[in-house]
């Protein structure tokens, strides 16, 4: 390799020890405080945008309105725990439809596998709340205390009024952000405008304040103090991720075949040197405090800020960018062997990613299909257990049931509840003065469950065996929408 020539050297070389270096790794790692330097470049810009979008969604979504008519709240996204309803724009989910949430979790899981198998820990590096809020807290820290070197100086400086003032300012702003984070969370669980007013006037429920308090504490502590410790020691994902990578995963890679031997030689000095000028800029921008030149390691969240830092340096020296780059192991090996290698489409589209995509799509399509075809009417039947049946004076037998009719639309509806099977059986609703008949009419309010006690009597009892199977059928009088539920009729002789 040629010596560094041309432009004057303008890069700061930093003496810094990366945390958790392989040579010095111990079973107990004392925490070394990290002062990440601001990076500039493509990936930093991407991260700013991701931060703006994710935080914007998080803070603004509860305030989006969505008209659902008279009988339902008009908040687009609302988890109504008190009434056990979940609203997401045009979708309303009842508790027994919780499998949609399970489906979403499956999609999120498989989606995470897919992204990880293509792009490594993109979730960790760009969108994980821990990363986003640490980034936000670092913005505040840099605004008040300055960039890395200023922060280190301040850390070592004696306690002066100016230092105390800066620290107070920083922590105050952090706390405001933390309270805002906790505050935004609870708006997903109640009508946001009402709750916001109630919060400030002290009329909100205790659970709202305690939730805000807990989330304020976690945000402040995780993003302000624990930072990379959360990723390294609390999060399980770094331990699982290695199983998702393979030789075709794009990972943040130090191309040592090009960089080594690293050297801090004079530009005029002749010799066989690599492109790495050992400026340690990749280490100082790293929010995890590691040295990417040590290779893949558990701490790396692939935020790609070291790529930005290194590219800046390479440009200053007139060297090609990409000494640190998103590279697959396959390409890295080929290039290290001196071959030309470009990212090939089949490195991305490979059996692993195809299977993940297929699984993800199947889960999504299945949920869509179920969502499109789901019933908005259901019936549940619970047979009385004590007494199992009642002997009537005319020789007939009566059974009691608790019948629940679920009207899952935003309109009150009239239903016909009738018996299917059980010849000669008659039903009557407890408390009603109507004569027993084969069917009765039930009105159920909008978006409500109506629970009625239903007595079914069979004048002649039932055939031998002491039990008969039949069905309760409920039918919307207007739309003919129907739901049915199996039930059992008991009589003497059924029990041993």
């Amino acid at each position: 390799m040629a010596s560094i020539d041309g432009k004057p050297e303008t890069v700061d070389r930093v003496e810094v020890e990366a945390v958790n270096r392989e040579e010095t790794r111990e079973l107990y790692a004392r925490r070394v405080k990290i002062f990440p330097k601001r990076a500039r470049g493509t990936y930093r810009t991407v991260k700013w945008w991701v931060m703006a979008v994710t935080l914007g969604l998080y803070y603004l979504l509860p305030w989006v309105r969505w008209d659902r008519g008279l009988y339902a709240p008009d908040q687009a996204v609302l988890v109504d725990l008190a009434h056990r309803r979940f609203y997401f724009f045009f979708i309303e989910i009842w508790p027994q439809e919780f499998y949609y949430v399970a489906g979403l979790l499956i999609m999120a899981g498989v989606g995470l596998f897919l992204v990880t198998s293509i792009l490594g820990r993109a979730w960790c590096g760009y969108t994980c709340p821990q990363t986003v809020w640490v980034d936000l807290f670092l913005v505040v820290e840099r605004f008040i205390e300055g960039d890395r070197s200023a922060r280190i100086r301040l850390e070592r400086a004696p306690w002066t009024l100016s230092k105390i003032g800066k620290l107070i300012a920083k922590h105050l702003i952090w706390l405001v952000i933390a309270v805002g984070t906790g505050g935004a969370w609870i708006f997903y669980f109640a009508d946001a405008p009402w709750l916001a007013g109630a919060l400030f006037s002290g009329e909100a429920p205790m659970v709202a304040y305690s939730t805000v308090g807990i989330l304020t504490a976690t945000t402040y502590i995780f993003a302000g103090f624990m930072r990379e410790q959360v990723c390294i020691y609390m999060c399980p994902w770094p331990r699982i991720q290695a199983a998702m990578f393979d030789e075709n995963t794009l990972l943040v890679t130090y191309n040592d075949w090009r960089g080594e031997p690293r050297s801090r030689h004079q530009m005029s000095q002749p010799g066989d040197f690599g492109d790495c000028v050992d400026c340690n800029q990749c280490v100082v921008v790293c929010p995890m405090g590691i040295d990417i030149r040590d290779g893949q390691q558990l701490e790396c969240i692939t935020c790609a800020l070291c790529i930005d830092a290194c590219n800046t340096v390479m440009e200053k020296f007139g060297r090609p960018r990409g000494l640190i780059s998103y590279t697959t192991l396959t390409d890295y090996t080929e290039r290290a062997a001196g071959k030309q290698a470009k990212l090939n489409w089949h490195e991305v589209v490979r059996p692993r990613t195809i299977i993940y995509t297929a699984l993800w799509a199947i889960a999504g399509l299945a949920m869509l299909a179920v969502l499109a075809m789901r019933d908005r009417l259901d019936i549940n039947v619970l047979h009385d257990r004590n007494p199992l049946f009642v002997q009537l004076s005319d020789g007939g037998v009566r059974n009691g049931y608790t019948v629940k009719v679920l009207n899952m639309v935003q309109q009150p509806r009239d239903f016909v509840l009738s018996l299917d099977g059980l010849e000669g059986g008659l039903l009557s609703v407890a408390g009603s003065d109507e004569a027993p008949a084969r069917s009765t009419i039930l009105r159920v309010d909008a978006d409500k469950v109506r629970s009625v006690r239903v007595f079914v009597s069979a004048p002649g009892g039932v055939a031998a065996g002491g039990r008969a199977d039949f069905r309760f059928v409920v039918k919307d009088r207007a739309s003919e929408e129907t739901a049915a539920r199996e039930a059992v009729f008991h009589a003497a002789g059924g029990r041993k």
Partner: protein
């Protein structure tokens, strides 16, 4: 601290304790742990001052806040009572029929009645009011003393054959056998007649002889066709429900030496509002008339 010895290999201070050349390293607890520990001590001191804590001979220190779990419970009970009061006040001034006509009161009364039933009535009538031999099933449509709201209310208030209650339901069926009113053969005949009333297997010759015995001795209370009379709590003998058994032996025994159910009078034992709730609850079980 000048002569603290440092262990060469681990770089840790030693405590100065030594056993056979083995020196103890000084590895104190982490500071956050110690601070948390001290914080709990401070907390405990505050707790002892503010809350009841130190046991005395027959009581305990009260604490500055004057907290008492007993008082808290009493306050919660008062609160619960106040919350129920709006219903109980209305129930107190309403008749059972009015309670049944009001959806709110009905729901409250059924819930309250169910609770009072499992405490007071379930020992005899069963948890599901399903009854047992000698104890009527309250779910069915057969009532000895009447199944309307008012009749159930009266039965609950005054009981059945309840001592020390002048208004109680009372009737005695003569012991036709033990008091030697009827011959054994006559009892067998009338037993067959009773079996015939509800269409059970019987000896028709005996039943025919029994018809006359029945008309002379039983019809006054049980009715000519054996359909019973709620005035006297005389059960219908022509239906499918039998309190003391429906085979010839059980019926014969009941004629010869009848058993009589006794139910306490609940007026005075239970609050009138509770009796009304019980009335509505029992009526709602499916047999109410």
């Amino acid at each position: 601290m000048a002569d603290v010895e440092r262990d060469e290999i681990s770089g840790t201070d030693t405590t100065g304790h030594e056993w056979d050349g083995i020196k103890e390293l000084n590895t104190p607890l982490p500071r956050w742990w110690i601070l948390t520990f001290y914080a709990t001590i401070v907390w405990a001191l505050g707790y002892v001052i503010l809350y009841p804590a130190l046991p005395l001979i027959d009581s305990a220190t009260g604490g500055l806040l004057g907290y008492s779990s007993r008082a808290e419970l009493a306050a919660e009970l008062t609160q619960a009572k106040a919350a129920q009061a709006q219903y109980l006040d209305r129930i107190a001034s309403a008749s059972p029929a009015e309670i049944r006509a009001d959806q709110d009161l009905l729901q409250f009364a059924i819930a309250g009645g169910r609770s009072a039933f499992s405490i007071n009535c379930a020992p005899c009538h069963g948890a599901g009011a399903q009854g047992a031999a000698g104890y009527p099933n309250l779910n069915d449509d057969d009532w000895l003393w009447g199944g309307s709201l008012d009749e159930i209310y009266a039965t609950l208030k005054n009981g059945i054959r309840a001592p020390h209650n002048d208004d109680t339901r009372d009737s005695i069926m003569p012991a036709f056998g033990t008091d030697e009113v009827l011959e054994k053969a006559q009892i067998a005949d009338v037993t067959n007649f009773v079996l015939a009333l509800s269409g059970k297997d019987h000896d028709s010759a005996a039943a025919q002889r029994g018809a006359e015995v029945f008309a002379d001795n039983c019809a006054a209370c049980h009715g000519e066709k054996g359909t019973g009379n709620k005035e006297f709590g005389a059960p219908s003998l022509a239906d499918a429900i039998w309190l003391y058994g429906q085979d010839a032996a059980a019926i014969g025994a009941q004629i010869s030496s009848p058993k009589h159910g006794v139910m306490p009078a609940w007026a005075g034992r239970l609050d009138d509002t509770v009796i009304k709730q019980l009335t509505v609850y029992v009526h709602s079980l499916g047999g109410g008339q």
